[in-house]
């Protein structure tokens, strides 16, 4: 067994949280509340040293950039939300955050998530290298890779058709929307499988910590 008190604390907290698998209990609730408290303080310290100090405190009080009094005032106004009588003042900083974020995202999303995705989708239908590999080594897998690009184009177009709700999903349009659902289901399944694997690997990491670092059995 480990003699490091830090490892013992980590093992105790790990066991407390895993005890939830049996049912909700005081050990789990203790760890849950401790986690919230520690996390809140962690992020407060993190943001102070990484954002507030280099972007506000040092430039304003050391370098004398007095214009920063505006975000400081807006930040303090944000805290007025805690006091109902003057809570309306928090709308000003909120409006700034919402406006900046909306303007920034409008451009970013339009560029990277709409236009760039359309450009990346509309490539040559025939991937010469993939077809050459198929003819040299005919197999089911090589066939799948050869038809990959048409599959993507069809999937994107039918997927978008499914999301178009201004026209009733009937006839040819409905058929295409149905194909779109199939592609979306494959995508959801793949994402789900990927997420499960990520969670399982985290669980393996915790079990390995208990058996290796704490109990030193493996």
């Amino acid at each position: 067994m480990s003699t490091d008190p830090g490892v013992w604390i980590a093992a105790f907290l790990t066991m407390c949280i895993l005890s939830f698998l049996y049912r909700d209990n005081p050990f789990y609730r203790f760890a849950e509340h401790l986690f919230i408290g520690v996390s809140a303080a962690y992020w407060a310290v993190y943001y102070y040293y990484n954002i507030l100090q280099p972007n506000l405190i040092d430039p304003m009080f050391v370098q004398g950039q007095l214009l920063l009094i505006i975000p400081l005032a807006l930040g303090v106004m944000m805290l007025t939300r805690l006091f109902p009588k003057v809570g309306w003042m928090s709308r000003w900083p909120l409006a700034f955050i919402v406006g900046t974020y909306a303007g920034y995202n409008l451009i970013i999303y339009l560029q990277s998530d709409a236009l760039d995705q359309v450009t990346a989708t509309l490539v040559s239908l025939v991937q010469v290298e993939a077809w050459q590999t198929l003819f040299q080594h005919p197999s089911f897998v090589n066939f799948l890779y050869a038809i990959g690009v048409p599959v993507v184009i069809m999937g994107v177009i039918t997927g978008i058709i499914y999301f178009f709700f201004s026209k009733e999903h009937k006839g040819v349009f409905g058929g295409l929307a149905k194909i779109g659902i199939w592609f979306l289901m494959v995508a959801f399944g793949a994402s789900f499988g990927y997420t499960v694997m990520a969670r399982i690997s985290l669980l393996i990491g915790r079990v390995y910590f208990l058996l290796h670092n704490w109990l030193q059995l493996i």
């Binding site: 604390i9 093992a11 907290l13 790990t14 895993l18 939830f20 698998l21 609730r29 760890a31 509340h33 401790l34 986690f35 919230i36 408290g37 520690v38 809140a40 962690y42 310290v45 943001y47 102070y48 506000l56 400081l72 930040g75 944000m78 709308r91 909120l94 409006a95 700034f96 406006g99 900046t100 995202n105 409008l106 451009i107 999303y109 998530d113 709409a114 995705q117 989708t121 990959g148 599959v151 999937g155 994107v156 997927g159 978008i160 499914y162 779109g180 199939w182 592609f183 494959v186 995508a187 959801f188 399944g189 793949a190 499988g193 499960v196 694997m197 969670r199 399982i200 985290l202 915790r206």
Partner: protein, 206 residues
């Protein structure tokens, strides 16, 4: 004053962020950098607001001896210890803050996420009861991706990892792209509505 000023602030901030993309030089490039900096500072205050609200609720719970008040003391103790460690000794490596981070924060956060593996397993049992063609597709795709990522999959069929990669690279990407394009168009229209003051729910619906 309570309604008009926030709408003007939203419009000006939003328009400057849009215009700087098309006019990437003075004065808009400077304004964009300045607004980005201000944005970061104000979001930290939003975080402080959240923390103050959390503490206020738990102090209230303790003072009124409401059910579970002892856990509130645990929460505040954890907050105080981590906060003092960070603000007094700093966050550098080897300091108390770093020690608590590695021996309390990291184990608890990774175990919390690991715990989800079990709930995902029970959710998958419900989701994977293949009652329709769509559910069957979801089931087959998830199983193929999972099996392609473990040694057992390639032991059963050497081509399985390639099939898993193909699903991720082609049909999955097609579905994800359709969703991304849909979301992007939604973001563009919602952002425009917000900047132009048509969408005002963020001002408490008034």
């Amino acid at each position: 004053m309570k309604k008009e000023v926030p709408l003007i602030i939203t419009f000006v901030a939003g328009m400057i962020m849009i215009v700087q993309y098309f006019v990437p030089h003075w004065p808009f490039s400077n304004l964009q950098q300045m607004f980005n900096n201000w944005f970061l500072i104000i979001t930290v205050f939003a975080l402080i607001l959240g923390i103050l609200n959390l503490l206020k609720n738990h102090i209230e719970k303790v003072s009124r001896r409401r059910k579970g008040w002892l856990y509130s003391i645990v929460l505040m103790t954890g907050f105080m210890i981590m906060g003092v460690a960070g603000f007094v000794w700093g966050p550098a490596e080897g300091r108390p803050f770093d020690w608590i981070y590695w021996h309390a924060h990291v184990p608890m956060s990774s175990t919390m996420f690991a715990l989800l593996a079990f709930f995902v397993a029970s959710a998958s049992y419900r989701a994977f009861r293949a009652r329709t063609a769509e559910a069957t597709l979801l089931l087959v795709s998830a199983i193929l991706v999972m099996m392609s990522r473990v040694p057992l999959g390639s032991y059963m069929w050497s081509q399985l990892p390639l099939i898993g990669d193909w699903i991720m690279s082609y049909p999955n990407m097609a579905g994800q792209r359709a969703i991304m394009i849909g979301i992007a168009l939604g973001v563009v229209s919602t952002s425009l509505r917000i900047i132009l003051g048509i969408e005002r729910t963020y001002l408490s619906g008034k």
